[in-house]
Subunit: 285 residues, 2 copies
């Protein structure tokens, strides 16, 4: 399947990510319909031509026409939705998603899904601390990574369709990981960073902090504004990988603490040089 | 003293901060001279009209004319410089600085300084991971905080001159703390954040990380590119305050770890709500 202007694309869930997907596709003339349970979201999406058709109902016709269905829901709702409504899917429909953890989801969904449809998991590594379609902005994808997360059950064709989604939306880099690799990686680069930001924001009671903070503190706590419903769920779904990453971080942090106690200036400098060298690899410029 | 176009301002050390000070003053027509031991730096500063006079020498005339001397050196060099060259200061000269720790510096310098001059400490909370005058940019101050750090030895007049510097350079907020308060605050908002960023950058050996990172990881590690000479010195000069802040962070982080192990979703959500509420206070918009 090649995604083109005749492909019926259905997005389930028009939050910040689903909404940004819809904008990105629609601006390029793709045919996007959507389902979201929130009436105001649907009105906004239609009025602003982010989607061509949209409804708050589980609309059998809309679903039955879809060649590609993209789920942008909280993880537990995603699974429930599939169970209840997969009878409406068209034969041959490709299902994908944007869920931030994979290990506990991909195999389950592939297991429950009808045999004449295929689910191929994806994770667009972009987001915003602001929620809802009102902040949807397809540009958040343009510097971001898009990870396709297949299992051995997936066909090359579905993997290709999933990569097409990433290409159309203009992600800077498209890569592929197994669910296990994905979850370890995410535990480190995304979940651990959120744990750190939250901790930094809550570990010190000093008032009027904002009078004294520099950019460092602002940068390290930007993601401390966090959607507790989604992230508490993501953390617990990826508990083992996240705890492992927290342990690695804690051990390294304790090493630095010891060097400080012992006034080991050379050791501290060496760690700083290592840190600087690794960080240089990340600079976009 | 009111700083005006006739005030002779001398900056010692034209690195990223000294250079940005010089640019900020010069662009507004103030009379800036500078001393820096690096020949190329001096040439660049003169050629680009960042300063009107500059030299690599400890120039008795330049120093003797200065009404206001701003030190932008590594902490240990700052103290040595004062000891060796204060005989050249003009009577009544006001000395200030940009040093990132205060407790171990302010009282020492005030103690060794000639009685007919006055040292009033300041900390501009801005910086860059790039070093040298070539990256000097006075705009880094415009969203930043400027902290004046007086002791009981300081006169209201010198405190006022120090605040004038902050105003002229266009800092967003000018506040005042004692050396002890300053160092605790800095231990938290600046040094702890650098410890975290370094740790995050070195705790996991995964290669090709840059293929998978989102903005969160980039944000939390921006300051992991760190000048090891300056920061190892700053850390050790503020060792007790920093170790205290590291302990507070570690305890809170361990609390989150425990909640995860116990799958205490409500506890995690509560911490996320607390974090979100506190972080909202920081948003510039």
């Amino acid at each position: 399947m090649t995604i083109d202007k005749n492909t019926n694309i259905l997005i389930i869930g028009l939050g910040i990510i689903g909404g940004s997907y819809a904008k990105g596709f629609s601006k390029q003339g793709y045919n996007i319909s959507a389902i979201d349970k929130d009436e105001a979201t649907i009105k906004y999406a239609l009025k602003n031509e982010i989607v061509s058709k949209a409804t708050t109902e589980v609309d059998a016709k809309l679903i039955g026409q879809a060649d590609l269905i993209i789920f942008a829901l909280y993880p537990h709702i995603f699974k429930e939705w599939i169970k209840e409504n997969q009878k409406l899917f068209k034969t041959g429909a490709i299902i994908t998603d944007v869920t931030g953890v994979k290990g506990c989801i991909v195999e389950d969904v592939q297991y429950i899904l009808r045999e004449d449809c295929e689910y191929i998991a994806a994770h667009p590594m972009a987001g915003s601390e602001k929620l809802g379609i009102y902040y949807a902005n397809e540009e958040i994808f343009h510097q971001a990574n898009y990870i396709v997360v297949p299992t051995e059950k997936n066909t090359p064709e579905a993997i290709d369709v999933c990569k097409q989604v990433g290409k159309i939306l203009g992600f800077a880099r498209i890569s592929q990981l197994s669910p296990y690799e994905h979850d370890e990686m995410i535990g480190f680069v995304s979940q651990l960073t959120h744990c750190i930001a939250m901790t930094l924001m809550t570990c010190n009671d000093t008032e009027d902090l904002q009078d004294y903070t520099g950019d460092s503190f602002r940068d390290l706590t930007r993601i401390a504004r966090i959607d507790e419903t989604m992230w508490s769920e993501l953390f617990l779904l990826n508990k083992d990988a996240l705890l492992h990453q927290m342990k690695l971080f804690t051990m390294e942090f304790a090493k630095l603490e010891r060097m400080l106690m012992e006034a080991d200036k050379n050791g501290i400098k060496e760690m700083m040089r290592h840190s600087t060298a690794r960080r240089k690899l990340f600079d976009k410029e």
